[in-house]
Structures are given as structure tokens and as C-alpha cells.
Symmetry: C2
Amino acid sequence: MANEKKVQQNTILDIAEALKLSPATISRALNNHPHVKEKTKSDVLKMAAQLGYRRNNMASGLRSNKTYTVGLIVPRISMFFHAEVITTIQNGLHKYGYNLIICQSNDSVTMEKELTEILFSSRVDALIAACTLFTTDFSHFDKLLENGTPVYFYDRVPLHDLGATIIKGDDFRGGYMATSHLIETGCRKIAHISGPLTSNLYQNRSSGFIKAMEQHQIPVNEDWIFHQELTQNNAREAMRKLFEGDIVPDGIFTDNDSSAIAALEYAKEIGLNVPVDLKIVGYSNDPRTSIINPSITTVEQFPADFGKKIVEVLIDSLKNPNHEITKTAPIIIPIQLIRRMST
Amino acid sequence: MANEKKVQQNTILDIAEALKLSPATISRALNNHPHVKEKTKSDVLKMAAQLGYRRNNMASGLRSNKTYTVGLIVPRISMFFHAEVITTIQNGLHKYGYNLIICQSNDSVTMEKELTEILFSSRVDALIAACTLFTTDFSHFDKLLENGTPVYFYDRVPLHDLGATIIKGDDFRGGYMATSHLIETGCRKIAHISGPLTSNLYQNRSSGFIKAMEQHQIPVNEDWIFHQELTQNNAREAMRKLFEGDIVPDGIFTDNDSSAIAALEYAKEIGLNVPVDLKIVGYSNDPRTSIINPSITTVEQFPADFGKKIVEVLIDSLKNPNHEITKTAPIIIPIQLIRRMST
């Protein structure tokens, strides 16, 4: 049975290769799609006969009308991390004849719901999503899962089990390592600029921060933990509050690099010497962190590893469409601290 | 007639607003789409009756089955300029009830063709595209134009008239101003790191470069003009060639900012003082150019203005679906030189 499916899969790709057409076009031609030219349909049928292609409707089951299209919903394509994940996914999928459609939620829950609906109606073969920071109800993804369409969440993942595959970074360890590094380089008064607690990312990075502080018996000042959208303006506002008090921090851990850059610029403006007076650690290894002066210590998340892993599990599942969508344990992508001049 | 259409347009949006559903869902419900729940269909029909909605099939013509989805094909989402254009377009379209599907060609002509096919099959109401650097045959877009689906090219546009709307930057003037600025700040030996001449962008920026040189009666050294993919590696390779000769440049104009950053880093590595020994001007005002030391003079392209203009002409056309797709003169978005420490 597994062999039979493999033969069918390879043969569609073989027809595509022989005719220098995309697998999506071959699939549409075989399904007599109205948008495919008659000449193409006839070429495809001839080549299919020549290569001994045989449809296996039983094996392909619900998804006999494969579109060879995968949908992806991302909060913001402008974020370096997501752009890198997406490009790796797209290049990986293309080797297997799949195209990728990208949608941007702009961190709006309403938009995420609408886009899920659109991708469902476009009959994508699979959906990949990094949720908005504010998604707490994930029921808009149910329709796909119930329909047998596999769903993969990465980075920003549901807070409870939906039966989808989860690929996430080691955010707890990232928060722990960043904070431990500040402590080891001499900081004792450490502030944390974090994101909204509705997101798994900031829950976990914050837990890592607190764990490191407790382990080194350094008191956590609740007023010095900011949970807000991680914009440059919000980071400047947090810095203003932190440095108007009598006691000021000597270390800051920010949950993204835009905030770290804003914090560094604010510190320079008020005459602080980074790293002597204040040490800063960011998160994500955005390209800007290595060219700013001083360069910023940050946590590398390896977006290309996210992308490769997603392609691996997705192709594995699409090649075996009759497998039940199985609950797998979350896949964790390791992180690494990149030490630079800001600490 | 125009009023009648306007009423219909507003009413679909009114039903959407009243039921807190997307216009796409309303449209699907009215078209009895199998993916819409029966309950939703019944709600929509009731509200449609209540608001006096009346289908105007004659007016809606070919596009009676509007999907309220616009497709976009972009070379690389990771480029700051494109990410900014896309986000502006998405936010603008959303106000009118349209969603945006984004596809990335990775500068591959084959992928651009496949993605055009996929968006055509998804029955997008309009297509927006910035072409690959190597697209010289644009016939894959014909199918949409022939079908009455409006196509908008921006930034990287066809070299000949396809009957589509063109929105592009003032690349000639950008190249001219960047080069004139180098000359006015004292440079006499100027090199140009440019992109492939298959693209309108680099044809025009190069023409601007040559025009400024000629106007100031400065000889153009053909060996100092590089037409190649604008990667950081290629820029370093160009710098190596330029600085291994007996006569070396005192000014460099690069057609993107990644190349300017690579050129600056290379110059610092070989011990040059920028701007004293060498002046550098980039293109695009990538955020990295303002934080690197020294900050880099560059050409601002105003991506948000591109996005707003595209939404304006697109919505204008979609609101009047019976208008012939008219050839309009190319829309030119002005540029501005941002002077910084590298000159």
C-alpha cells in the first residue's frame, strides 16, 4: 500500500518533469479543470498513458483533488525571523512540487480568521500558521483539521492542544540564558521588556527570566517587567519610566531586537555608556543587531531550522495522505546566545 | 447606472458590517458556496432582504462571483521596500473589505509563472505584481488581462506596454541625484554597482548615473560599472576588483542598500576612512543604513506612497467593474535623497 502510493506520487511529478509543467498544472489537467488549455490536457493524458500513470482514488481518499498549494498565515512578513522561515519553507516545498501562498494577519485576530477562511476555500493541501499575539480562541482552524487538512503551528502556537503539529523555539531556555548572561557579566538590577502574556512566546521567555533571577537569588522587581506590544515606541516609554526613578537598572533583557535597539538608542541619548553603565540583551538576531554600535548581544532562533523542520514533517504527512493526523509531541528548535559588545 | 452599482457595492459591505462577517463570506453565502454554513447563509439572506439588497447581475458582468481577494506576487518579502508596500496595500484594501494573498517568486521566472497560474485559478479580483529581475516575457499575465481581471505592476514593471497599470519609482532621477550628490561633495572617480539590465530599475538608475557624469563632464569608466545581482557577496567582489587597481574610486553609488553596507564594511576592513577617502550612496533607505556607523546616504523611495497609490487605482477600478481596463500613463512616485555621514 505504501509502495503503491509512492508510485503514484512520483508519477505525477514525473509527468510534470517530462512536460516541463508544474505538478499543480498536471493535477488540474488530470481533473479536467476548466482553466487548463485543451492542448495541455491532451499532452498530459498522453504522457500519463506513456508513463503508466494510474489514479489511485482509494489511496488518495479525501484529498484526491490535490492543489499542490500550501497556505501560510504569518503576523508580519517584515519581521526578519518570519521572512527567513517563509523563504526556507518555500524553497523546500518547491523541490516537492508545492507552491506556497502567504497571508499576513498584521497581528489582527479578525484578519487571521478571514484569511483562514480564504485559504480553506482555496483548498490548500496544508496550512502553516504563526498566530497573532492575541489569538486565544483557535476554533477557526478546526474546519481544516476536521476536513483532514494538516495544520502546522510554528513559533506562535496555540496555548492548548488542537491536534495540530507544533514547531516552536526553546523560549524558556532563551529567556533563562539571556538573563543568566546578564547576571554573569555583573548585572544585579535587571529589567525585562516583554510582549503580551496572551502569547506562548512571552509566557515562556518571562518564565526563563524569573527562573534565572531566582536561581541567582536576585529579587525580581515587578515594576520592572513590562508586558506590552514590542514596538520601538513602547520600549522608549519603558526606558523613560525605568530611568526616571532613584534606582535605575544595570541590565535589560528585551524579548525582541527592535526593543533592544530602541533601548540602546535611548540609553545613548541620556548619556549612558553601554555596556559599562547598562548591559542589553535582545532576542532574534535581527541583522541590525550586528551592525549597530555597540553591537547587541541577542538570542539566535535559527529560522532556517524552523523552515526545514516544517517542510520535513509536512511533506512526510502529505506523502502519506491516508495516515491519521497523529498528535506528535511539540518539536523544539534549540536557541543559542550570540554574545556581542552590548554586554 | 453608476449610482446603481454604488448602492450594490455599499450594500454587500453593509450586510457584512451588520452581521460582523467579512464581505468575502457574504459574497460566498449569496453565491450559495458549499463551504458556508447553512445557518450563515440563512442569516445573510435575511439581512440582505432587510437591507433591500438586490443583485445586479448585468452591472457585475464577468465578475459577478467576486472573491474579495486580491493576489500579489513579489520577488522577496524580506526586502524592506516590498514588505512596506505590501503592508500598506493590505491595510488599505482591508478598509474596502478585500483580503490580500501574497506570493513570493524568489526572483525565479518559473515560480512567477506558476504563482500567476495559481492566483488565476483562485479567481482573484485583481493581481498586483513586482516582477523578477529576469522576466522579459510577460505573456503569463495575459490570461488575467484577457479575462478582465485588472493587473497592476509596481517597481519592477514590464519593459513594454501590456495594457496594465504601471506604478513605478523615479529611478532615473534617483540615479541622477545620487551621482550628482557624489560629484557635488567632491568625487571625480565614481564607480557604480548596479543590478541586471533585464530590469527597468537598473536600466533607469544607470541612465541617471551616466547623465549626471556627462553633465559634469566626468569620464565614465566602463570597467567601474557592475551589472550583476545585488548581493552582499557580489558587492564585496566588485570592491575587491575596484581596489586592487592603481587608480581607485573616491565615490561609489550602489543600486541597493545591502550593497552599500557591504561596500562600507569592505572599505573599513582595508583601512579606508568613509567619507574622507571614499564616499558611498545607497538606494532604498533600508533601516540598517541609519544605524550603521557611519550612517549611509541613500535614496528614499516612499514605499507607503506606492502602496496608497496602488490601493487608490485598484479600488477605483473594482468599484467600476464595467469600465474597460483603460491604458493609463505610468504613475511615477517621487524619490528623495537622504543625506547622511557616508558622504
